[in-house]
């Protein structure tokens, strides 16, 4: 950085100035990865002007990313604390499973297809409670028992999936209330915005506010940056870490309910890579795996890069497999950028 922003006032005294918006933008990883996303959108729009930049493409793109976005938003908090949560996909399935099972149990003949809102709301509460319970277990084992997050969540990854499978003998539940599917799953509001997307947007906005303007958010960065410093500053690090994993579990529970509404099934076998997709999105968005750095906006961008690549390649007629290669390359490049930035900073 060569721009010198300290100025000398009339008395010859240096005053400490605000960092300019430009400086902050250019040093933020989010800015560059945002440009990458914008570039992708422009390229595909030019290559397929009739098919890519359309309302329909935008709608499907948004719907298909809504569930992953909710998972990735939770993952952002965890990774900023310097942790990881591999269990989110399994917790999502577990939450959907207990929710569907509860709604079945509350309906005549165990068929929840015609269930009303009373049953659906209970299903929502159960999904959230189920996700939160796994999140709390993760948090407790990591923060209180001090077992490494990778190990704990690798364990609960398997355990939550196993528990979910036990509930219905390993098969999916497909009697999801039609009312739920028609509203949250396929309904739209405000002239065409899918409800599923609205829910994801609201959750993302609330999470961004939580992370960037509240004390909870500030302490999340502090714990990831230097847990000992946080402790000495009077922050309850154990409690905070527990809450962060609990929050991620809660969001996985919500995602499970959204997935139920969208697919009309508990989709046991469809979420094996959700955890890695969420982690990839978060990291691509400029959140550092070392902790202490990250943003919700970055995660939003990180979720859309693979989605846009996939949709774009489909429309342009490139084989799907190229998307996997491209996403892998972007991911590695993003982390490489992050490391370069750290090195440059440490040289200061």
């Amino acid at each position: 950085m060569t721009t010198d922003e300290s100025t000398v006032d009339t008395n010859g005294v240096h005053t400490i100035e605000r960092q300019s918006l430009r400086t902050r933008l250019l040093t933020a990883n989010t800015f560059w990865i945002g440009l990458v996303l914008l570039g992708l959108v422009i390229v595909f729009s030019v290559l397929a002007p009739d098919a890519f930049p359309t309302v329909f493409t935008a709608q499907t793109l948004l719907i298909e990313t809504a569930v992953l976005l909710v998972l990735a938003v939770g993952m952002t908090f965890v990774i900023i604390t310097g942790g990881i949560d591999l269990s989110v996909g399994s917790v999502l399935i577990f939450a959907g499973m207990v929710s569907a099972k509860t709604m079945e149990a509350m309906s005549p003949n165990g068929n929840a297809l015609n269930a009303g809102w009373d049953v659906i709301l209970v299903g929502l509460v159960v999904a959230i409670a189920g996700g939160t319970a796994w999140g709390f277990l993760n948090g407790f084992l990591i923060a209180v028992a001090k077992i490494p997050p990778l190990i704990v969540t690798l364990g609960t990854l398997g355990a939550a999936l196993g528990a979910a499978s036990l509930i219905n003998n390993g098969s999916d539940i497909r009697t999801v209330p039609t009312e739920l599917r028609n509203t949250l799953g396929y309904g739209t509001s405000f002239g065409g915005i899918p409800n599923l997307v609205l829910v994801a947007v609201v959750i993302t906005a609330v999470a961004a506010w939580l992370l960037h303007t509240t004390r909870f958010g500030r302490h999340t960065y502090a714990v990831g940056s230097n847990a000992e410093a946080a402790r000495r500053s009077g922050i309850g690090v154990t409690r905070h870490l527990t809450l962060v994993y609990l929050l991620t579990g809660l969001l996985a529970g919500v995602a499970g309910f959204m997935s139920l509404a969208y697919y009309g099934s508990t989709t046991i076998s469809a979420h094996a890579t959700d955890n890695l997709n969420a982690i990839a999105a978060v990291v691509m968005g400029g959140t550092s795996l070392f902790g202490g750095i990250g943003s919700v906006l970055g995660t939003v961008i990180g979720v859309f890069i693979p989605a846009v690549l996939k949709k774009g390649f489909n429309i342009v007629g490139v084989q799907d497999f190229w998307q996997m290669i491209a996403v892998g390359a972007v991911l590695i490049a993003a982390v490489w950028f992050d490391q370069q930035r750290r090195r440059a900073r440490n040289r200061l």
Partner: protein
């Protein structure tokens, strides 16, 4: 004669088999600077951390304004108005200067922090420490030099209305002018009636600002004397040998450590 604002009596602290503090008595007086000196590994930082709630003493009594208190967490210490500048600074690298200074005690509501007010206060505190080289209070601490980081740690401790300020080698990384600033600040804090503890290996600094000198030798408090009753060489002797004439340990220690 006023009473000490903080008094430790018979404090012991071990880390596993390592007995670091032996029956330490130590007092901090309001409006005075007490220098805490001793060789590397004597237990100075451990003593400070026991007061700060980082470590809990195994036994012994801590009294604040004459009343026994328990300091089990940094929060407890902060509630008593005890502020600490740690030897390792304990700053969060990824957070900026303002965020570090107010960490754990942010202004505003829990749901909406008052950034403008914190930024203003941080600027003023830094200005009072004559920090001129920091470009912006929104610079992440990782981008600061060692001395600048140390100044931020000091600013973080003096930001509050405190009763006791403990500074663990606050000038170790500072240049001549900055050291001057910190020593002046130490005096200023004492003049405000705060009890100040300064840990330093620099005898010139100690003799310049301290009202009394406490010497730790291998985890034992061997002397606690007014500065004007001892000489440089006596203090050095106390630090290195644990005794000097009538001061310090009664008998020469055996060579075994």
């Amino acid at each position: 004669m006023s009473e000490p604002i903080l008094r430790l009596t018979g404090v012991n602290k071990s880390f596993g088999p390592v007995h670091v503090l032996h029956d330490v008595d130590f007092a901090v007086w309001p409006g005075e600077v007490t220098a805490l000196v001793g060789d590397n590994g004597a237990g100075k930082s451990t003593l400070v951390k026991s007061v700060a709630g980082i470590h809990t003493a195994d036994s012994g009594l801590i009294e604040f304004r004459g009343k026994p208190v328990t300091v089990h967490s940094p929060r407890d210490a902060a509630d008593l108005g005890i502020e600490v500048v740690y030897q390792d600074l304990a700053l969060a690298d990824n957070l900026d200067i303002v965020q570090n200074m107010f960490l754990g005690r942010e202004r505003g509501t829990p749901w909406l922090l008052d950034e403008a007010s914190m930024e203003q206060a941080a600027r003023e505190t830094l200005a009072s420490l004559s920090v001129r080289t920091v470009k912006s209070v929104r610079t992440p601490v990782s981008a600061l030099s060692g001395g600048q980081r140390q100044t931020v740690a000091i600013a973080k401790a003096v930001l509050w209305d405190s009763n006791v300020v403990l500074l663990d080698e606050p000038t170790a990384a500072l240049g001549v002018a900055q050291t001057r600033q910190v020593l002046d600040l130490v005096r200023r804090l004492a003049e405000q009636g705060i009890g100040v503890v300064l840990i330093s290996h620099n005898m010139a600094d100690v003799f310049e600002v301290a009202d009394r000198i406490a010497v730790l030798y291998l985890g034992r408090m061997v002397a606690e004397v007014p500065t004007d009753e001892v000489t440089h060489s006596q203090v050095v002797e106390l630090i290195t040998a644990g005794r000097s004439g009538d001061l310090g340990l009664a008998r020469p220690e055996s060579a075994a450590i």
